[in-house]
Structure formats: C-alpha cells, structure tokens
C-alpha cells in the first residue's frame, strides 16, 4: 500500500514536472515567434512632425433633414528664426443644404500667431490664439474665451467644440519656473459685432470687447492648482480655479470653478423676471475620470451654472411662446452655457474595444432641472491614415425641455477622414 502511494506520488511529481516543462517550452516557442516578428520589423523612416492636414467628408440626418459636409482642416508651424515661430490653424466647412441664411462655406481661422521664446522660461505670443482654460471635460466655467468662438458646429462632442473654434487676437506673455507658471494676456477690441459672412475673419465674435486674463499655476505635492483672474470691458472681474488630484492609480479627480458679479443677458433677465441686477454667480464642474486596465475611461461630472434659470423660472419660460425658448437656446449654444442650473454629464471612452483600433465613445447629459436627457454615441475605427466614424444622438424629454427640442428625433452622421502629413 505504501509502495503504491509512493509510486503515485512519483507519477504526480513527474506529471507536474512534464506540465511545467511543456509550459516553459510553449513560452519559449511563443517568445521565439515574437522575436522572429521583431527580426522582420521594418526600419521606419519618419519626417519630423510640425503640422497636420486632414480632409473630412460627412453625411447624415439631423432634425428630420439630411445633410452633407466636406471639411478641410490644417495646422502648420514654421521656424522663422531661432526662438521665433509662426503658427497657423484653419478649417473650412462646406455644407449642403445650407442652414437658414448661412453661407454654404464657413471658414474658421483658428489660429495665426507668432511665438517668441525669449529664454527657456519666458515666452511672448502675438496674434490669434486659441486659448483654452479648464480641466473639466463637459463644461468649462474658466474657459472665458469660448463664447462666440464656434462658427460651425460639426459635432456636439465637447472635444470637437474645443477644437473647431476660432481663437482671440491677443498679446500673451508667460513666465515659467519649475512646477509653475504665470500667464498674462491682453485681447483688444477689434470689431463691434460678429460677422456672418462665411469667409470673414470674424474678429467681432472673438474680439468684440477688450479683455484681459492673469493665471498662476502651481503644483503642491499631488495637487495641480491654477488660479485665474479675468476682466472684460463692461463686466465685473471674474475669478477662477482649476484643481486636479490623483485619487489612486486609476482615478483623477478634478474641480473647475468660476465666480464673480455678473449682469444677466436681456433674454435671461426677462426669463428669470429678475431684472438686470448685478449679482454674484458661481459656476462649477466637478467630477472624476476612472480608467480600467482594458483602456476604458469613464468620466462623471456635475455641472452648476449659477447664471442659469432655476426650476421655477425655467418652467415659466416653457409656458411662453416657443420663439422665446428658441432664442434662449440659441444664446446658450453660442455662449456654450446651459440655460438651466444643474446638469449631470457622463462620458465613456473605450479604446481598442472588441477589436484593435476601434474606439467607442458614449456621452450622456441629464438636465436635473427638467429631467430631459441627451445621449450621443460614436464608433471610430482607424486604418493607417484613414478614420471611419459613425455618430448617433438622441434627445429625450418634452418638446419644451432643454434636450427634447426635436421631439426625440434621433440624428446621425457617417464621417470619413483622411490625414496627410
């Protein structure tokens, strides 16, 4: 009996050793196959980057109507002398059919400026610059230069709205030190009002008022902080704060706040029934981004717009003639502000979803004032220099709610983009 048990034990050990050896052999085979692939890897030659050009075609349906669009997007920089560089970024969108009263071709001069690096820690820029402040993903209270900056909306994705907009003409200086910086800028008034001409440089939209900004950034341990002071002619001084912190290996938390005394626009004042009194308004976007090891990133944010309408005023507005609501919605779109006070925002992005090179994105807005919702989905696949994307969106809620304006009719577009370098 003892001898049988001993023999059985020996067999077990032998089997385990054989399995281990087989496993090691398999690993060696796999490693050898991988190394053979690496042996055959091509020698890659590359040009230094310094620009990007793409052509994009899109077709789809929105608000019940079909549309087509062709876009040309260019970004280029060139060294003029040691420390002196020129930057240009431009986009042209041609649409069919043409939106009411608008030109078929809308050009957006996003940037055109000279950058002078005076020393390793001092820089000066002059020209049209697309300055973007803010650490939040779905709403940026400190991004004061966004108002009126989008000439042609090609997607409701906040990333697209940030990218496809014109900068403001300004003189900007920056001083850096290890872990921090001081930025000061001045943007003069260059025109009285926006220009709808499709090929206009549209300085009235971005430089309709004299503006200035001072921002100080500093890092304290794991906290990255930025304080901002913004001044605009005929408006009270606005203050801002951006803060990010690493909560753990997978999570980044962020808070973006702005506040200051502010007079509501005539439309908002009429809707709120509060007159045009100057009052302190806070704006806030707070949330976090969590990333899984499988390259899925989830962002959740709460948005508060203290200049938006409260539930009572919003519900009262919804009972008035629809034109008033339409005008307020148009104003909110131009200023990229919510017409109401409280919103929840969710964004999910999954890279290499199911198959390599396929990215899936989901965006969800929920207005906590009228309980209307909007969902936006995108599937994007890239192969070499070509990207294919399908975007779909739908609003839910009553026709007079914030996101239910199109009676729940979904919109979609198919996009094909080709990059050149």
């Amino acid at each position: 009996m003892k001898r049988a048990a001993a023999a059985f034990g020996t067999i077990r050990v032998a089997v385990a050793a054989a399995l281990l050896a087989a496993g090691a052999a398999r690993a060696d085979d796999a490693d050898e196959a991988a190394l053979r692939l690496a042996d055959a890897a091509p020698e890659v030659t590359h040009a230094a980057a310094g620009g990007r050009l793409f052509v994009e075609g899109a077709a789809g349906r929105g608000g019940g109507d079909g549309f087509r669009r062709l876009s040309l997007d260019l970004r280029y920089e060139h060294a003029l002398a040691p420390g002196l560089r020129a930057f240009v970024a431009n986009r042209l969108d041609v649409r069919s059919p043409t939106p009411d009263g608008a030109d078929a071709a809308i050009n957006t001069l996003k940037e055109a400026y000279l950058g002078w690096q005076m020393s390793a820690d001092a820089l000066l820029d002059l020209g049209r610059i697309n300055l973007k402040n803010g650490v939040a993903a779905g709403y940026n209270p400190t991004d004061w230069f966004r108002a009126g900056a989008v000439r042609s909306v090609v997607s409701i994705d906040p990333a697209s709205l940030r990218e496809n907009r014109q900068g403001s003409v300004m003189l900007r200086g920056q001083r850096l030190w290890p872990g921090g910086s001081l930025t000061a800028l001045y943007a003069p008034r260059l025109a009285r009002s926006p220009d709808d001409d499709g090929l206009s440089l549209d300085f009235g939209a971005t430089n309709g008022r004299e503006r200035g900004l001072v921002a100080v950034g500093e890092t304290f341990g794991g906290l990255a902080l930025q304080f901002l002071v913004y001044r605009e002619a005929e408006r009270s001084t606005q203050y801002g704060l951006n803060l990010t912190a690493l909560a753990n290996d997978a999570t980044v938390a962020h808070i973006e706040w702005s506040g200051g005394r502010e007079r509501p626009s005539p439309l908002m004042a009429a809707a709120a029934g509060s007159g045009s009194a100057d009052a302190w308004r806070n704006r806030l976007a707070a949330g976090f981004t969590w990333t899984s090891p499988q390259r899925l990133s989830l962002t959740a944010e709460y948005h508060y717009n203290g200049a938006g309408l409260d539930t009572t005023a919003w519900n009262a507005l919804r009972r008035t003639p629809p034109q008033r609501l339409a005008h307020l919605r148009a104003e909110a779109l131009a200023t990229q502000e919510a017409p109401t006070r409280h919103t929840l925002f969710l964004h999910a992005n999954w890279q290499d979803a199911f198959v390599p090179r396929l990215n899936l994105a989901l965006m969800h807005h929920r207005d906590l004032t009228d309980d209307s919702r909007r969902i936006w989905l995108e599937a994007r696949y890239h192969a070499g220099d070509i990207e294919y994307a399908i975007q779909w969106q739908r609003g839910d809620g009553s026709p007079t709610s914030r996101f239910g304006a199109f009676g729940g009719s979904p919109g979609w577009q198919a996009v094909l983009r080709h990059y050149f370098q």
Partner: protein, 262 residues
Amino acid sequence: MRASTLRLLLATTLAFLLPSAPVAAEAVDAQAILAASDAVRNPDFPFGVTNTLIEYRRGRENERSVLAVYAKAAPDGGQFRSLIRYLAPARDADKLLLYNGRDLWFFDPASKASVRLSPQQRLLGQASNGDVVTANFARDYRATAAGEEEITDGDRQPRRCHRLELTASTPEANYPRIEMWIDTVGHRPVKARFYTESGKLLKTAYYRRYQPVFGVERPTETVIIDGLEADWVTVMRYTDWVKREVPEVWLQRDYLPRFRPE
C-alpha cells in the same frame, strides 16, 4: 546548566545569524546589479531619443507610432522625467505626454487641452506609459537575487544571467513584481517578466540589439510579448540618441502648449 544555556543561546543566535547573513549580502549585491543594469540602459545625463513602436496582433502589423523622447533625471538623482512628442502617425502628430513620477499630463495641440492622466491610463496599445519612458528600476524596486541561470537572449545567444526578483518599493513603481535576467558579464539587461499583484504574467520583455551609444553598449530594441496573448507583440526601437539639455521648466503641464523641439 549555565554552560548549556549559554550554548543554546549561542546556537540560537547563530541559527538566526547564519541564514540571514548571506541574504543581506545578496540583497546588497542584487540591488547593485540592478543599478548597474539601469546604467547600461540609461545614460546618466539628459538626452533625447527616437522611439519607434511597431505593434503586431496575430502576426500582422497593427499600429505604428514614432515618438521623440526627452528624458532627464530628477535633481535629487532620482527617477527620470520624460517629455514625449508624437511624430507619427499623422493623426497624433505633435501630441505630447509629460511623465513626471505619478504626474502624467497629455496635451493635444488640436484642442489645446492639457489633460491629467492616471498612471493606469495607457496611450499606446500594449506598451504602458512606463515602458515608453526611461526608468531606473533600482529606484522603485527592491531586488533580491534568485540564483544564476543560462538563458537564450533576444539575439538567440546563450547568456549566463543573474535572476533577480524585483518587488515594488515606491508608489512610482509601474508593476508590483518583476523577474529580471541580467548578464553576469557587463550587467546587460537581457529579459524581464512583469507580473500583476496576483502573480499573473502581464508581459515579457527582451532587451536586445546591443550597440555602442554614448560609449557604452546599450540595448537599442525592446521586444514586448503580452502575457495572455502571446501573439500580441510590440517592438520598440531606439534611434537618434542625442545628448541634450532638458530645461527643468519644460517638465510641467503649463509648458506643454508651448513646447517646440529645437
């Protein structure tokens, strides 16, 4: 009685001392070996290098990226900080990644947005951020010697190697545990296996194609093999090494929108 008690005490003391003495010696040696292998991989001054990544899935090329990497060690002689600029593909051109310990920032020149990333967020397929940037393992891991072995290196040559067990010792460490093979002659890193907390194999890396760089034979290619899908392979090739100054003020978020290579 007193003599036997003394003998017992002496024996007990020796029993504790004898096994621990070689372990302490090994720990010191293992850490020194690891530091020496770090010095083989990384120059001890600020430098720039081009990193070409070619990713294969099931034997076919899937992605190709070219990155310009600017690296500089922390002033206290600690871990490297890296500024990485995408040169290719065209859709990613001029995007930037700043890697400063656990401080990670990503900048997209199209949206002008600087976004803070968590260490878990990967931007380049299989290669983790930690694989792409320069890293001194000896700073973030505690090494213990696990004997000597003869293995086949990435160039199919037999190599007598120290096998080291690395355990994360700082929060900056990208992996909880690493198994590393280092050539007994010259302290060349030859191969490494990276594991999860639970002991699952994440990836295997071969350091190969040694060539003279800044007067030292250094690996100019790393081959990374996925732990679960063995046919998921990334080849990282290093070229265009250059000794260059990386100003301290570049290594922060606020400089990213202004960064221009010379």
